[in-house]
Symmetry: C2
Subunit: 195 residues, 2 copies
């Protein structure tokens, strides 16, 4: 058995977006960036129509970006939120972005998190989650959102993570629909087949 390592690598086109510590003053500006990433991810054929980014909310600077890399990396774990969290934690050198001495971080995602990403958000240390499309918009084009707590907003808020929903929802949903119309792969685990 040869596998003892795994490399997560952002595509080249995304690296240029990840550059520069750019400032995004409003939630809508931040959301439009991740929606743009979600659209570019479809256009470049990298993976699902999902983008995410972490911002330092004290300066509104971009801290890290992620897109869905499931298809291109052959890894079901690499949803946009997970990738953005991994990159932000690498940059800050800490597994807890909410640790003492850290600025307050905000995770912005083009679609509400699936069950896995919901848990990843809880462990990340971010203090706020900003969502575009609703999980029902993802389900509408065939994605399973997974075994997700029905109380997920309250669950995050009880852990000190503020949840802001429906920011540019219709623009975010347009990209989901564009992906479905262009024949994008709906890659639910085992395609929902019973055993």
């Amino acid at each position: 058995m040869s596998c003892g390592d795994f490399s997560v690598r952002l595509p080249e086109w995304l690296r240029s977006h990840a550059n520069g510590d750019r400032v995004f003053e409003t939630p809508e500006e931040r959301m439009r960036l991740v929606i743009e990433l979600s659209r570019l991810n479809v256009e470049h054929g990298v993976g699902g129509p999902f983008g995410a980014a972490v911002f330092d909310h004290s300066s509104n600077r971009l801290a890290a970006v992620g897109v869905n890399l499931v298809l291109s990396s052959n890894c079901s774990v690499l949803h946009a939120e997970v990738v953005a969290i991994m990159m932000a934690q690498k940059r800050w050198g800490h597994y807890d972005l909410g640790a003492q001495g850290m600025p307050p971080f905000q995770l912005v995602t083009s679609t509400e998190p699936c069950a896995m990403c919901l848990g990843a958000v809880a462990w990340s240390g971010v203090r706020a989650l900003v969502c575009g499309a609703r999980d029902e918009d993802a389900r509408h084009i065939g994605f399973d959102e997974g075994p997700k707590s029905p109380r997920w907003v309250e669950d995050l808020e009880s852990r000190g993570i503020r949840v802001i929903r429906d920011v540019c929802r219709s623009e975010a949903t347009e990209v989901l629909e564009y992906y479905a119309e262009s024949g994008g792969v709906i890659y639910n685990g085992r395609q929902g087949r019973p055993s």
Copy 2:
């Protein structure tokens, strides 16, 4: 901003365990391997007291291993189950271990999955999940299990993933208690602090 890649690397001591396609005939044998990994992970100071492995259930051969790498990799995503899934999918070259032509895979974990890992299991393509300690055993030593669906067993089973619980539960729980007694870091995101 310089981060565009992230390397997940199993520790050297674990690589030797990952070698050889060893056969483990019974659920108890498979569980004892992952409990041993969880204990070794504490002894080597790598991270939390959690181990996991993926087995090809048609041959009962070990397919991939994982341990909790949160502390050593400074990444809150790298729970044992996530690491084992990433390594198995890399080895088989597919983001869906339940895809056509794959053997049936089983994920064995020393403790029931947290909210994030529960979602990761659903997306992985494994057909069965075998658990040692209960999530309440992890909570007992202070770990938050996250915003987890209370119907998580039914949620997985409805997706064709069989759940088998309480395999060598007391042996698995002993390692959790050993970790707590030895002063191991309980690394919940933001240490449960309100905002």
